[in-house]
């Protein structure tokens, strides 16, 4: 049972990790908690659903198209709701993000209605049985895709020129712009990539659980955010680790403590980690300047 639960946690955690990446990338660059990220995840799932069911696009193409569309949405949100506030207080930007999140969620509710939509499964359902655990084909695909996307992102940030520029911007915006980096362009790219990853998570969760609803972004958004902080917000490997740790803790909490306190266990872990290491697991302590 323990190993089965570990697998359950890993699958759950990998979707959290993908959502957490979007939060952490945006935070790393502009120090803003992008509350609308959960809604972008929801939008990605809807975009994938419409592409597959209405426009009959093959699944893999739909997957990447949904990511592209979500990138556009992310860029638009940034342009309309965050960019004008870049020079004002962080709290004002936070409220603007919350407003954008409420707006997007209710836009979806208004256009799509509240009933759950069924996501047709692109894969034959198949279950693999091993000595210690069972795992379904969809779960394997989710794990595989999540890890591929995460590795791809790490390579992009470490190896490419744009990735380098992103790291520079995260470290010091003003100096980076003095070095000839177009800050606005970098922020746009960050939102695009973060949103694409959120949409990927949305589509994968859509095919995994077979349903898409306008309010689906709320709880995963919150959990993704928690995962990002757990790993040290702004830190990309931290977000992956945080997501997986959160997923496993949640599952273990339900399995060995009580399913009533499944979510509470996850939040308790968060508080404990923060008390022991106030900047998250992999976060670097910031130097206070007087």
């Amino acid at each position: 049972m323990f190993i089965q639960q570990l697998m359950n946690g890993l699958v759950l955690g990998s979707t959290y990790a993908l959502i957490a990446l979007g939060y952490t990338m945006v935070y790393g660059i502009i120090e803003l908690i992008n509350f609308a990220h959960g809604e972008i995840y929801m939008f990605g799932a809807f975009a994938g659903l419409i592409l597959v069911t209405v426009l009959k696009v093959p699944f893999f193409l739909a997957f990447f198209l949904a990511m592209a569309l979500a990138s556009l949405l992310g860029i638009t949100v940034e342009y309309l709701a965050y960019r004008p506030l870049r020079r004002s207080t962080r709290l004002a930007a936070l409220i603007s993000a919350i407003g954008a999140s409420i707006f997007l969620q209710n836009l979806a509710l208004w256009r799509m209605g509240a009933q759950p939509y069924t996501f047709p499964s692109p894969f034959e359902p198949k279950v693999y049985q091993t000595a210690f655990f069972t795992i379904s084909r969809v779960e394997i695909i989710i794990l595989l895709f999540s890890f591929l996307l995460m590795i791809g992102l790490s390579l992009f940030i470490q190896k490419t020129k744009i990735g380098k520029a992103m790291r520079a911007t995260a470290q010091d915006k003003d100096t980076a712009s003095l070095m000839g980096i177009n800050i606005n362009k970098i922020i746009t790219i960050t939102f695009a990539i973060g949103s694409a990853l959120g949409a990927a998570a949305g589509v994968m969760v859509g095919i995994y659980f077979r349903t898409v609803t306008p309010s689906m972004g709320l709880m995963p958004g919150l959990k993704g955010f928690v995962a990002a902080v757990l790993g040290g917000i702004g830190n990309i490997p931290g977000a992956m680790m945080g997501g997986i740790l959160l997923g496993i803790t949640e599952v273990m909490g339900a399995a060995y403590i009580s399913s009533q306190y499944r979510d509470a266990v996850a939040f308790a872990l968060l508080i404990m980690v923060l008390l022991l290491k106030p900047t998250g697991l992999l976060g670097r302590p910031t130097q206070e300047k007087v």
């Binding site: 935070y27 120090e31 908690i33 309309l80 709701a81 004008p84 506030l85 004002s88 207080t89 709290l91 004002a92 930007a93 936070l94 409220i95 603007s96 919350i98 407003g99 954008a100 999140s101 409420i102 707006f103 997007l104 969620q105 209710n106 836009l107 509710l109 208004w110 919150l222 955010f225 928690v226 902080v229 917000i233 009533q260 306190y261 979510d263 509470a264 939040f267 308790a268 968060l270 508080i271 923060l274 008390l275 106030p278 900047t279 998250g280 206070e288 007087v290």
Partner: protein, 295 residues
């Protein structure tokens, strides 16, 4: 005779003013980002309602019990978490808020998922007005005192405040306790007004709503708390006629408000009093001019 619907809105504006004002002390004056304020409200609401139900204490005692319980919790939570800074504190308070909600949902004494029923209705307009005035008065006294100056110093620069000999941990915990006390008071009024409690309403979105009230009105401004609370209580009700577009508009309004006035409706330093004084002087001069013209 006041229409009960408007009466209800006034009472809710009052309760929300208490919530926003108490959060303002933590957020606006001390600069500590807390997004678990609804948890203190629910602690105050549940404990005062339970005291009323089980011991039948007079209303004022129940309210104080709720507020005190919430304050004690605020201090207990504050001691470890206030070491955290900025967004890390925010997320810790968020986690704490969710834990309180989940515990309330699963305890027997709180009625769990069935909710707590049969709380007697004791909150009236008079109680709410009194509570608002007492809250604002005490908070104003605190802000204008040595404690308040210490809190503002911590907001401006904690390290500098520390080096000036301000025990920042002590003051932060104090401010958390006081904020939680008044949030608990607001919760107690809410419980005895609604006659029913269920953890669902004290979720993360409720804390966000309180946060929006403070920021919208203007951080570090008691008038701002009142204005923010009034707007965010009344506007959703006004938007009832557009039914399914209600929250859509609400979200757009938040974004637009922040675009047009990121410092909130009243800025941090501005006060409504000088503004009124200015208008009064203007009228006075017009009056004088008119009077002079006559003679």
């Amino acid at each position: 005779m006041i229409n009960p619907y408007y009466m209800q809105l006034i009472i809710l504006v009052g309760i929300n003013t208490i919530m926003a004002a108490s959060l303002n002390l933590i957020l606006g004056y001390t600069g500590q980002l807390s997004i678990g304020h609804a948890a203190f409200m629910s602690l105050g609401a549940y404990s005062s309602a339970l005291v009323t139900l089980h011991f039948g204490f007079p209303f004022i005692i129940s309210l104080l019990c709720g507020a005190l319980f919430s304050a004690i919790f605020g201090v207990i939570i504050g001691i470890p978490t206030l070491k955290l800074k900025g967004d890390y504190l925010a997320i810790a308070t968020l986690g704490f808020g969710e834990i309180v909600r989940i515990v309330c949902l699963n305890l027997d004494i709180t009625g769990g998922a069935m909710g707590l029923r049969g709380i007697p209705k004791k909150t009236t307009l008079l109680w709410v007005v009194l509570a608002v005035l007492v809250t604002v008065f005490i908070l104003n006294r605190i802000i204008k005192s040595r404690i308040g100056r210490a809190l503002i110093a911590i907001r401006e620069d904690e390290t500098a405040a520390d080096s000036m000999g301000i025990n920042s941990t002590y003051y932060k915990i104090l401010c958390f306790g006081v904020g939680a006390f008044f949030a608990g008071l607001g919760g107690g009024l809410f419980a005895h007004y609604m006659r029913f409690l269920h953890p669902k309403t004290f979720d993360f979105m409720k804390s966000i709503e309180h946060l929006c009230m403070v920021v919208l009105g203007g951080l570090g401004n008691m008038w701002g708390a009142f204005i923010g609370a009034s707007i965010l209580t009344v506007v959703p009700e006004l938007l009832r006629s557009v039914a399914d577009l209600r929250l859509l508009i609400y979200g757009a309004v938040l974004v637009l408000m922040m675009r047009l006035r990121p410092q909130g409706i009243l800025g941090p330093q501005t006060d409504i009093a000088p503004a009124i004084e200015k208008i009064r002087l203007k009228f006075k001069s017009i009056w004088h001019r008119l009077a002079r013209g006559k003679t």
